[in-house]
């Protein structure tokens, strides 16, 4: 049996006390629960503290460019639609630099699981505002405080009809794991926005701040009601719901591409004679 230890990779370069440790652990536990061994998954990431995660668990990894994990993940899924793909990304990586890819990956409904370590700050580059930083937060680059409205990933994902939209929090380890398991089990694009304390740079949204606000959404909540889900997505402040906020059963990209429906591309051998047939078309 695979144990958590089998999943542990390099020694993390994160700050002691960082929320990322809880995420790492929950991912390991989720994969064990799913019965997936390290070689049976691919973890794609961009650049940032979050994006270092694949070095710290054992897995197949493509650690690419800042903001560009999703297209890489999409390419992987088209090449090989049998292997589960997870993206580990940050709020800057996914909602800032990579925002356009998020929009369109959701539209495609490619079967990729995106776990956003949302610490509401740029951690790796030492504390500039991210799209999810709350208005008014003062940083070196925003000496007058953040002006732009805080980005609401849940609301946007619902607006784009994302097939699985969840929020979780580092303050609730059990919940984190359960969201990961459900996201991976879900066929289609799954977004899990994870509230993650950055103890070094985000002095506003701390462990305590999240702890005091976060609550699990009601058991009987119906995530298929889009308008109610949207309404719920607006809840932020005194109380912040975690759980699956929205979901649907749209067809996934991989199932709608005829050439990979039967067999992954990677398993279809090259046959030059089939290409040679096209030559006669030029005559």
């Amino acid at each position: 049996m695979t144990t958590l230890k089998d999943y542990m990779g390099q020694v993390p370069a994160w700050c002691p006390g960082c929320g990322n440790f809880a995420i790492r652990r929950a991912i390991g536990e989720a994969l064990i629960e799913l019965g997936l061994e390290p070689w049976q998954i691919i973890v794609v990431s961009g650049i940032g503290q979050a994006a270092k995660l694949p070095h710290y668990i054992k897995c197949n990894t493509f650690n690419g460019l800042h903001g560009r994990a999703l297209p890489v993940a999409t390419g992987i899924r088209i090449a090989n639609n049998r292997i589960p793909v997870i993206c580990e990304t940050g709020d800057g990586d996914c909602y800032g630099e990579g925002g356009n890819h998020l929009m369109h990956a959701i539209r495609r409904n490619v079967n990729v699981n995106v776990f956003v370590h949302d610490n509401q700050i740029y951690g790796l580059t030492k504390g500039q505002a991210s799209p999810t930083s709350m208005a008014g937060m003062v940083t070196k680059v925003q000496p007058n405080g953040v002006i732009a409205e805080m980005f609401n990933p849940i609301a946007m994902a619902i607006a784009l009809d994302c097939s699985f939209v969840a929020r979780s929090s580092c303050t609730d380890a059990e919940h984190l794991k359960s969201m990961f398991v459900q996201a991976i089990n879900h066929p289609g694009f799954a977004l899990v926005d994870i509230l993650q304390p950055c103890i070094t740079f985000n002095k506003l949204n701390t462990w305590q701040w999240y702890q005091e606000r976060v609550y699990r959404i009601e058991e009987d909540y119906d995530p298929e009601d889009k308008v109610r889900a949207f309404e719920r997505s607006l809840e932020w402040g005194e109380r912040i719901p975690i759980g699956i906020i929205y979901g649907n059963k749209r067809p996934i990209l991989e199932d709608t591409i005829p050439n990979i429906r039967q067999k992954p591309l990677i398993d279809q051998p090259f046959d030059r004679s089939r290409v040679e047939e096209f030559i006669s078309e030029f005559l």
């Binding site: 560009r68 890819h101 096209f278």
Partner: protein, 617 residues
Amino acid sequence: MIPFVGGDFFVNPGRLGIIEQVVAASAKKISIMDYTIKIGGEAGQGIQTIGDTLAKVFARSGYHVFSHQDYESRVRGGHNFYQIRFSEYPVMSSRSGVDILIALDKASIDLHRGQLNASGMIVYDSSSLKSKYEDAGFLEIPLAALAGQHGSPVMSNTAAIGGTLGMLGMQIGPLLDALEQNFRSKGADVVEKNQSVARAGYEYASINCPDCPFILAEPGKPLYLVRGEEAVGLGALAGGCRFYSAYPMTPSTGIMDYLAEKSKEYPVVVEQAEDEISAINMILGAAYAGVRSMTGTSGGGFSLMVEGLALAGMTETPAVICLGMRPGPATGFPTRTEQGELLFALFAGHGEFPRVVFAPGDPMQAIMLTARALDIANKYQIPAIILTDQHLMDSEWTFESMSLEGTHHTDYRLRGEELADVHDYRRYALTESGVSPFAVPGASENLVVEDSDEHDQDGHIVEDAETRNEMVRKRTIKKLQLIRNEIAPPLLYGSRDPNVILIGWGSTYGVIREVIDRLSPEENIAMMHFSQLSPFPDLEREGHLQLLNQAAIAICIENNATGQLAGLIRAETGFQLSARINKYDGRCFLLDDLLEEINDHLERLHGAGSRVVPGMR
């Protein structure tokens, strides 16, 4: 001076047989058929259908064809033209004179009548042009009326095609076949109507143009007719490409169209990305997962891909990018041609990493070099760039034979049982050659870790100087050495011991070659054509540099303003070319214009009165 073809210097694959024929004809100095048809009109008037059909009919009739297109960045209106040259001998450039001008609008007459050759004809329909021309050289065909009578008013272009064949005195059979093929999917009625309209046009012209002066050569064995964009597409498939992701951008969109069409019957997946950044990252993902992948774009899109190019370099992920150049900077002339991005392609991307840059000269080279780019990219796990332009992408060439021989497909991946036997796989294992085994993730218990940070052999982030040094040596220095050996020297064509050398790269291949044909053997002249530009070929190994040093004049001909190849040759060899011909108006070189310019140089070289009268035609 015996024109030199083949032999030691002739290194590129392809058109050997054809060259011999041209030279033979050139030597015999016989007058041979060489007609140019220009179809002019507004965007949306169906110029391309007429041009495509005529080119196909000529090729089917065994005539060699060269066509090029000149169009604006709009969907209706403006002024476009399609120019087809055909001959019984290979042609590979456009000329400035026109024999038949099919004028779909008045502007075409105003703009192009000056280009008419002595006995040239202008075909038009006064009912649509709202003008009548009584001068000699005009043939009015009531295209719309004939179409209305014999089929439907929308078929007047078919009447124009039929009329053109009638003027030329060609057989109509190949056209009827072509129409049948074009319209088969629309039902027998449409086919028949088009055919009768074609016949009506044909007969009208035959009867009403008694002094149409055209003398055709004997038809021959059908020839293959290939457009540059299709050639890149076919080469991609031949090189094993199974995934193509791109964002539409002229002049590369045709590659995506070709592959998307093929995806209906062949296991290749085409995905339109939301932007070019996504396109290149998608293909890197697919390549990492083990599937050969490619993208295509133009300069603006390539700019956006540059970060991904560096990612391919760092992660050692194979990637092929077709860069179809158009005149820049920025949006520039979106539908026109230029060779302004050679140095950009060579040095694009942050940090240092090896790449291959190929610039095919004709569609056959495009097939071969695209397939080869995929092979080399996968063999060495590096990015490769096919550097081409609107001119080649939109041009058609004919070939007597066509096959994929000469393309290679080796599966370089470590997979299946071979991989299962490995237990200590390291993605960036340090090897003698610098190339590490390339395993497929998920195919065995081995983990495949790729990383954009500096990394150790396992693919994990490092910070130390030693590993960095090792990885730079592996990734950049060693591989570069290996890849250098894969690069063929430039193609030489013409005199073995030339006094004058014309230098070019990429899509100017055809026009420069024809200049050589025309100036030999009166002038001791040769072409040096570069289609493999990075790593830069060794010009000393096979004596190219010596030829340059010995020649009285070496002229670098480029479709750009700054003479980028000339600069590159100097950077790589120290050799300073004696002259440059640069054209940067967004149009391709025309054979006759280039001949003039070369003649100016020859005159400066030999003294007044030394202009060479082109040997034939």
